[in-house]
């Protein structure tokens, strides 16, 4: 019998993907024979835009590279600029930065847990875990003023202090997560259906993880002990004991499957709570920003010359920003790399040989952030589609609609 495969496109608009990206699968029966990735539906050309703006404006652009990593990109970008311009930031600011970044990790990992459960068709867990997530969003709103896109990072420090009165509120939230953690762990690690759907699914070997330059929980679940907070500590992480978490801590073996990625993320949740607690205890007093006056800071940056790298361990993996300043208002080069960009290639070995039903959970297992990844690429008008409304049609539609609405 000849093997006849057929292809199904997934994306760019598909309920399991909250963001646009296109996959083309060649399927034989229910099994995947070949995968073609075609990212590029979410390109906004952010780096291109950034190279026409000044450095303070870019912080807000970097924040909007991705709404879920909205502390990670500004963190990495600010570090890159500080390294390039030689700005020392006050210790208190370093601690506040770490607290915000770790709170973001808690929110991101719980968000991921809910999304993963949703991909498995386990909506109850989605609802319950997202209810737990609201707690940390409330805290972030209390500390920074917004649920998402915090706007707290600034070149040279942070924009808002964490006062003494705010600390009990932080501790309350941490206590809440400590209380419910055992429940979350019980649901994800002991539920038989979740185990059935995730064990030995989407396996990424250690060799592949290294070869394809995987980062973050994806790499760690495959046994690569790579975590910048441990390898090259920055900000307050230099004072704290942070260890890269691999699944063998809990189970003794590394399989590199989706189940292991769940373990890593759950354990990192605990780690984040501990980090924040340590930060709160050791937080030094002092200034929170190197240069308070924006105009002065901008002038200083205008005169700066040099290049710098900023790295940050985002919830999904390492963010790295490269900035080159050349005594001008705008940066000469701004290159941003998000974790998904590197984890992209590791989808292929994970997906080959799996079933259609595994596609959503495998794709979700690296916690993809297409918005992050696609920021660099540039698009032109895509004329390849057959069924397209012309501008005239649309205009007519629009006119009709207006007529209908206005009496």
């Amino acid at each position: 019998m000849s093997k006849e495969t057929y292809s199904i496109p997934i994306g760019p608009v598909h309920p399991s993907l909250k963001e646009p990206v296109t996959f083309n699968f060649e399927i034989y029966g229910e099994h995947i024979e070949n995968v073609n990735l075609a990212p590029g539906d979410n390109h906004r050309g952010i780096e291109f835009m950034g190279m026409q703006r000044n450095l303070i404006q870019i912080i807000y652009l970097a924040e909007r590279i991705c709404g879920i990593c909205s502390a990670s990109h500004p963190f990495a970008f600010c570090r890159a600029v500080e390294n390039a311009a030689g700005i020392e930031i006050p210790e208190r600011a370093q601690y506040i930065r770490v607290i915000i970044a770790e709170l973001e990790r808690i929110h991101s990992h719980i968000l991921w847990a809910g999304v993963a459960a949703h991909e498995l068709g386990f909506d109850s867990v989605l609802y319950l875990s997202w209810r737990a997530r609201e707690e940390v969003l409330d805290l972030l709103e209390y500390l920074t003023g917004n649920r998402i896109n915090y706007g707290i990072f600034m070149v040279g420090g942070v924009r808002r202090d964490i006062s003494e009165e705010q600390i009990p509120r932080i501790r309350k939230t941490l206590g809440y997560y400590k209380d419910i953690y055992s429940k979350i762990e019980d649901i994800f690690l002991n539920d038989p259906t979740i185990a059935l759907r995730t064990k030995n699914v989407g396996v990424l070997t250690k060799e592949d993880a290294l070869n394809f330059c995987a980062v973050g929980p994806t790499a760690r679940a495959s046994g690569v002990k790579k975590d910048i907070r441990q390898d090259q500590p920055y900000s307050a992480y230099a004072d704290l004991e942070v260890k890269a978490i691999t699944p063998d801590v809990l189970t003794g073996v590394v399989n590199g499957d989706v189940y292991d990625r769940i373990i890593v993320r759950l354990l990192e949740l605990v780690q984040s709570i501990q980090i924040i607690e340590q930060c709160l205890e050791n937080m030094p007093a002092g200034e929170i920003i190197a240069e308070k006056k924006l105009v002065k800071l901008l002038n200083q940056l205008k005169k700066a010359k040099g290049e710098g790298i900023g790295r940050h361990e985002a919830p999904r993996g390492e963010c790295i920003h490269y900035v080159k300043l050349n005594e001008s208002e705008f940066p000469e080069v701004w290159k941003a790399r998000a974790p998904t960009y590197n984890n992209l290639m590791s989808w292929v070995p994970m997906l080959l040989g799996q079933q259609i039903a595994d596609i959503p959970i495998v794709i979700a297992s690296i916690d993809p952030c297409i918005a992050c990844m696609d920021r660099v690429t540039i698009l032109n008008k895509d004329n390849g589609q057959k069924k397209v409304l012309t501008k005239k049609d649309l205009h007519e539609l629009s006119v009709q609609k207006t007529r209908r609405i206005t009496p």
Partner: protein
């Protein structure tokens, strides 16, 4: 595991590669936290011909993690920086190594390093699309990021006539539904 010091790594590169290969080298030491713990970043400017040898040499020290290649159009030539890191997996031990090569505009060719690090494919293809660099040895693959019908010989990150307005000065624009002629005129 033996860990080499940053200056030892630079020495090793100077010793094992041709004398003329290492054009410039710089070691940065940064500190962080209350404890002022330090970490190192090595910047190496090397000859484009020896790029592959340098990566091979790097692999003998420790399997390098390639973060990304960043490109910069400097007018006469294009600078590519390969952002590597080695010695990850142990506390305070990781060293960032940034290999920079300068390619003249007339001869924009680099060898692929995907045979050494398969994961480099994405970023090499990105540079091919964004900067118009020919990556030798990379199979002919469809565009990763740019659409199929994107104008040939237009590379968005270039600042010369092959680039895109307003970074380029010639007023060419791509994507007629996005930047309009009158807007171009207004800015000019």
């Amino acid at each position: 595991m033996e860990y080499m010091k940053p200056d030892e790594i630079v020495e090793l590169f100077k010793k094992r590669l041709n004398k003329s290969t290492i054009i410039d080298s710089r070691i940065e030491t940064k500190t962080a936290g209350l404890t002022k713990s330090s970490y190192n970043v090595i910047w190496l400017k090397i000859n484009p011909e020896d790029l592959k040898n340098a990566v091979k040499l790097l692999s003998t020290i420790h399997f390098p993690h390639l973060a990304i290649i960043s490109g910069n159009d400097m007018g006469e030539e294009i600078e590519l920086i390969y952002h590597f890191s080695i010695y990850y997996g142990a506390r305070f031990k990781e060293i960032s190594i940034d290999l920079s090569i300068h390619l003249p505009k007339k001869d924009l060719r680099i060898p692929t390093i995907t045979d050494l690090i398969p994961g480099a494919q994405v970023t090499e293809r990105e540079m091919k699309e964004m900067m118009g660099i020919t990556v030798e040895g990379l199979p002919e693959l469809p565009n990763l990021f740019l659409p199929k019908d994107f104008a040939k010989d237009t590379h968005p990150f270039r600042r010369d006539e092959k680039g895109i307005y307003p970074l380029s000065k010639n007023g060419n624009y791509v994507g007629n539904n996005i930047i309009r002629k009158e807007e171009v005129k207004k800015i000019e």
